[in-house]
């Protein structure tokens, strides 16, 4: 059972045929999901086009509010400042980088494997006069060739599910982050008992459904994610389990798809694709309900042994969603 995360210092390692093969496979498989017309995703996502877990203050909350609250919560955890330069690994349609640029004045780079997503982000950035602050690059996570220590903060939201070798990814993120920089990992995991079965070659129906839908799915356990972080010089500052928030999020997406059937099927996507998403969201919700899929936000700091530890917030007050503290 290979669960040991590798610590690769300063990697820029597309020097391995197996890795090259993996990159080539991902570049074909992953965009099949995300290169669908943005209008289709817009038909069920909120206005920020965040295709990941939102954050609900109450069970009846709107998707619009919860979507923005998730972005705010993430920004608070990262303690965003105006002069921050941010990397968003797997930026989707740019929800977080737009939020960081528009609400905090940050500069931000996003990576995605989807040409369609990058085109939309860069077009919107130009339309909103943000081209000097926002950019999306079509880049595999193993190929991030930015100079070392380029970023003050790094975030990856809803993307680790596509990453097979977290050790390799986090090693690169560690190199790209300046010393003492913050790294927020937001993503789905599976309970260890399920992960154990997957590693033993026992496929669950959830594995099949998710992989079929996304093209590539790697469902790590939480401790594997944390192990990979710690082995690449990150200390975990905070962990929040947001599984119930994700179930509520997908409930909202499903409601919107069903309510919008006539317009979506008539004008945006074939019925077969529409029904595929209905089935996927239903199974997704079921998977959360049955504790087969979990969702987490993990906040980390890049550390160096032997260097003086800075003052850090003593409480979680600054990362409470609507606290007054910045």
């Amino acid at each position: 059972m290979e669960t040991e995360a590798r610590a690769l210092e300063g990697t820029r390692p597309v020097d391995d045929p197996a890795v090259e093969e993996k990159i080539s496979f991902d570049k074909q498989a992953i965009p099949t999901h995300y290169d669908l017309p943005p209008a289709f995703f817009a038909s069920f996502l909120g206005p920020w086009m965040a295709y990941s877990c939102a954050y609900f203050v109450d069970e009846d909350g709107s998707l619009e509010r919860a979507e923005e609250d998730k972005l705010l919560l993430t920004a608070k955890k990262l303690r965003l400042k105006e002069d921050d330069c941010i990397l968003d690994v797997g930026c989707g349609w740019g929800s977080f980088i737009f939020f960081a640029a528009e609400k905090y004045g940050c500069r931000a780079v996003g990576t995605t494997l989807s040409e369609e997503q990058a085109r939309l982000v860069n077009t919107l950035a130009a339309e909103r006069g943000l081209s000097d602050r926002i950019r999306a690059d079509v880049l595999h996570v193993y190929e991030m060739d930015y100079p070392d220590a380029s970023f003050d903060k790094i975030v990856t939201i809803g993307a680790i599910e596509h990453m097979e070798d977290l050790g390799r990814v986090f090693a690169r993120c560690s190199a790209l982050l300046r010393d003492d920089g913050l790294f927020l990992v937001h993503g789905m995991t599976q309970p260890w008992r399920s992960r154990e079965e997957t590693l033993a070659g026992i496929r669950t129906e959830s594995d099949d459904l998710l992989e079929e839908h996304f093209g590539v799915g790697h469902w790590h356990s939480l401790w594997e994610v944390i192990e990979a972080l710690e082995k690449n010089d990150f200390e975990v500052l905070d962990h929040e389990n947001i599984t119930n928030h994700y179930k509520l999020t997908v409930e909202r997406w499903l409601e919107r798809l069903i309510d919008g059937e006539e317009k979506i099927v008539g004008e945006i996507t074939p019925e077969e694709k529409y029904r595929e998403f209905i089935a996927f969201f239903a199974s997704y919700i079921f998977s959360f309900e049955m504790n087969n899929t979990l969702c987490n936000q993990i906040l980390c700091r890049k550390i160096k042994r032997g260097e003086l530890r800075p003052n850090l917030p003593l409480t979680r007050e600054h990362m409470i969603l609507h606290s007054k503290e910045a």
Partner: protein, 125 residues
């Protein structure tokens, strides 16, 4: 469908499963109806709330109502696979009203019924 009837499944097997698995209704905690169309069909409702029971007819307050042809129903039942049911939905062989994820909570019943000798035998016909 010779030898296997919807009545055998809903009036005998399903109630027995519920009786033998008292934790199952808590896991579902909802009312789910199923409308099986064509020869060998009929309508049944699983009320898996306070007083768990299976009864004939559809419920107005069902959280989800599934509609499927009798031939698809028996084939999917014999398969006992949630993935196959979702595939059938994608192909428009199953339809639903209400909240589809709730119906998925019946998975354990589906898996159990598929193991019944009469249903397994039917799948070989």
């Amino acid at each position: 469908m010779e030898g296997l009837t919807a009545s055998y499944i809903f009036d005998h097997l399903a109630p027995k499963f519920i009786e033998d698995n008292p934790g199952f209704p808590c896991r579902v905690n909802a009312v789910v109806s199923i409308d099986i169309l064509g020869e060998g069909g009929g309508s049944w409702t699983f009320d898996l709330t306070d007083n768990p029971r299976v009864y004939r007819g559809l419920a107005d307050d069902a959280k989800c109502t599934l509609t499927v042809s009798a031939s698809d129903f028996y084939a999917l039942l014999a398969g006992g696979s949630l993935s196959d049911c979702l595939e059938a939905f994608k192909q428009k062989r199953i339809n639903f009203r209400g909240h589809l994820p709730t119906a998925l909570r019946l998975e354990r019943l589906l898996v159990s019924l598929a193991k019944d000798p009469a249903i397994a035998e039917h799948s070989r016909i």
